[in-house]
Point group: C2
Chain length 384, copies 2
């Protein structure tokens, strides 16, 4: 194969082939079932029916390259933190919300062979009931006492019957745990820096991929990169919402968290990403640190972003042994021991990778920012 | 807290504290159950009983920092390849060897609520039986047609009842797929470069961690970095073994692969890492490319390393549609379609991350190169 490079009338480069070789043919749709037509722009929900072929679609390949850039940018920016592996298989059902997947060998003969008298058959393999991890946080905290600041980028799983375009059954989180953190402001400023710097790398390195996505999914503003982001206590946010309750349709309930609509209103009202801090203790998990001046509050923070709402959730971790002991769920005695044998104040957070790619690209449905999406009834047609 | 930095009599720096603050106490073992004694070197199998605490042990933290360096080195060296996510949940039981874990929601009410008449109860959630991935390869191949050279670093799972110090139920693989590859030598030279360059980065950046490991687990030679590595066809290797069958105890069988002992002999005999290429078709998976000059062989390669044996396995992929069609397992029609709709010759491989860390560090048991190891009966004592 040979040819010359020339400039086309529209100013773009093109190749004038003198000869070429066909490595592999792809006859059109009618003849052999190829689902896509050249030069036709297929909508995402049609393309999604063919997960094994959709990386050949220009805007899907652009989304997947932006995923790549995001993940490598995170690794390259946080070179002073140690990357840790957290397990997918775990005997901890975490917050016990019944949203876990359980796991066992697909081999009854093996289970029988391995069975010990004290265990039920389905627990033969590990000698415990085993679940897919819903978060690497607790294990990551254990690592942070040996490694200092540490992070993981790991799949996580939720067995919810949720049809929302913002949820997946298998998704990915960047999770970080940091030592010598005893003030929420250390966490929020770290997260603000993380999101801004990562976005700057992506904007600089993959501008063509972003332009292609914005052409397909609608324009985006990244003016939040140049702003200082707003922090609101949960109480302050509730007051703002109370004063503007005619602006949204969902009902504002005391101490029950905010609806997606209310979150979006706060972001719009503040004209900035918003850190919601100092949450009511009763709606947050057991490991969050009691606020020093109000035992009904915990030092938690959620980051709300334009377009996607909650992107990050985190907190200081309860390091008072007695307080933690009074709240620890059964089976997590090992986590309590982390505070028993020496340590330092820690804090951390999780950022949803898919949610972040939606923020970058404008992709409406989270199923289209991951190559092989897993969601309820999601394999009814596909074997991929 | 304040103090001055000084040089100790042995030449090492030390801090002379003038005052200090105790953030958190850790009384000794007898008093409150801390399992480790300062300045005593506990053996790995004792330390392994406390996975949530063992990152506090110096040599374990060194192993985990070496893991971090390995993974970030891979991301930084292969910047021209695109990082892809491959799914953990999959309806494909891959090679159908019955070594898979099956997955379902731990919530029978949810399964009943979601059940469709055509599906059994345990398949209600996804409408298919779902397994944990044993390899990301097939999905990664699908991505390579859209993204070009692509790789993933992902957990993989095997439900084997295997007590070997070289196997885990949950482990990690670096897997890569490359386009326009039609010669095994392209793959072997890529793998040789990958292993050498990654190791050079680790040796340069984490020499103290390596020294600590080698002091604990025994010295290692890395003289293979400066050698050109040997390639042997399966037939050549079988002949060498036949000529030296008095040097090992396992029996040499025709076309059934080699034992660990035989692999180690080949490495020793060649005084080099060994690529075993051109394998008998019948002992390799369906997706490997038939050799052009012998239809009973496939263009496969295994890399055997000193100390650990097989580190990498890979092949050219069968891109002849008719040959692949004759071998494709049921349920993998989507994989066959990758060859139907245009493409290019591809090849790829997988490298076991834990095996590689064993190669670097000399850690004998693979359970000690991963923070929270998962293996048969491995949770009998631990809830971590």
């Amino acid at each position: 194969a040979s040819g010359t490079v020339a400039i086309a009338p529209n100013g773009n480069p093109e190749i004038h082939a003198e000869e070429f070789e066909v490595l592999s043919e792809c006859p059109l749709k009618e003849e052999n079932g190829y689902p896509f037509t050249p030069k036709q722009s297929h909508p995402p929900d049609y393309v999604r029916e063919y997960p094994h072929l959709r990386s050949r679609i220009d805007y899907m390949a652009a989304v997947f390259r932006l995923r790549h850039r995001t993940l490598t940018a995170i690794h390259n920016i946080w070179t002073k933190m140690t990357f840790s592996i957290t397990p997918i298989l775990t005997p901890n059902d975490c917050e016990g919300a019944g949203e876990t997947f359980k796991v066992q060998p697909d081999n009854e003969a093996l289970l029988k062979e391995m069975k010990r008298p004290e265990n039920p058959l389905e627990e033969s393999y590990f000698d415990k009931k085993v679940f897919l991890s819903v978060s690497g946080q607790l294990h990551l905290e254990a690592m942070s006492y040996g490694l200092g600041n540490t992070y993981t980028i790991s799949p996580a799983f939720r067995a919810e019957n949720c049809k929302s375009p913002l949820h997946l059954s298998e998704f990915h989180m960047f999770e970080a745990e940091m030592g010598f953190v005893d003030d929420l402001e250390q966490l929020t400023s770290f997260v603000e820096k993380l999101v801004k710097e990562t976005t700057n790398v992506v904007l600089e390195r993959n501008s063509e991929d972003l332009a292609l996505c914005h052409k397909k999914f609608g324009d985006r503003s990244f003016d939040w990169i140049d702003k200082s982001w707003v922090s609101l206590s949960y109480e302050e946010a509730a007051k703002i919402l109370q004063n503007h309750k005619d602006k949204f349709t969902t009902i504002l309930k005391d101490d029950e968290g905010f609806s997606k609509e209310q979150e979006m209103f706060l972001v719009q009202h503040c004209n900035s990403p918003v850190f919601l801090i100092e949450w009511p203790e009763k709606i947050k998990p057991f490991y969050m640190k009691q606020s020093s001046n109000d035992s009904t509050k915990v030092a938690a923070m959620d980051l709300l972003m334009p377009d996607v709402g909650e992107l990050v959730g985190g907190s200081l971790r309860e390091n008072n042994y007695e307080i933690l002991k009074s709240k620890i769920p059964a089976g997590l005695e090992w986590y309590l021991e982390l505070r028993k044998f020496g340590g330092f104040p820690t804090g951390g957070f999780g950022l949803g990778i898919e949610r972040y790619i939606q923020l970058l690209t404008g992709v409406k449905n989270i199923r289209d920012v991951i190559p092989f999406p897993r969601y309820p009834h999601g394999l009814s047609k596909s074997y991929t």
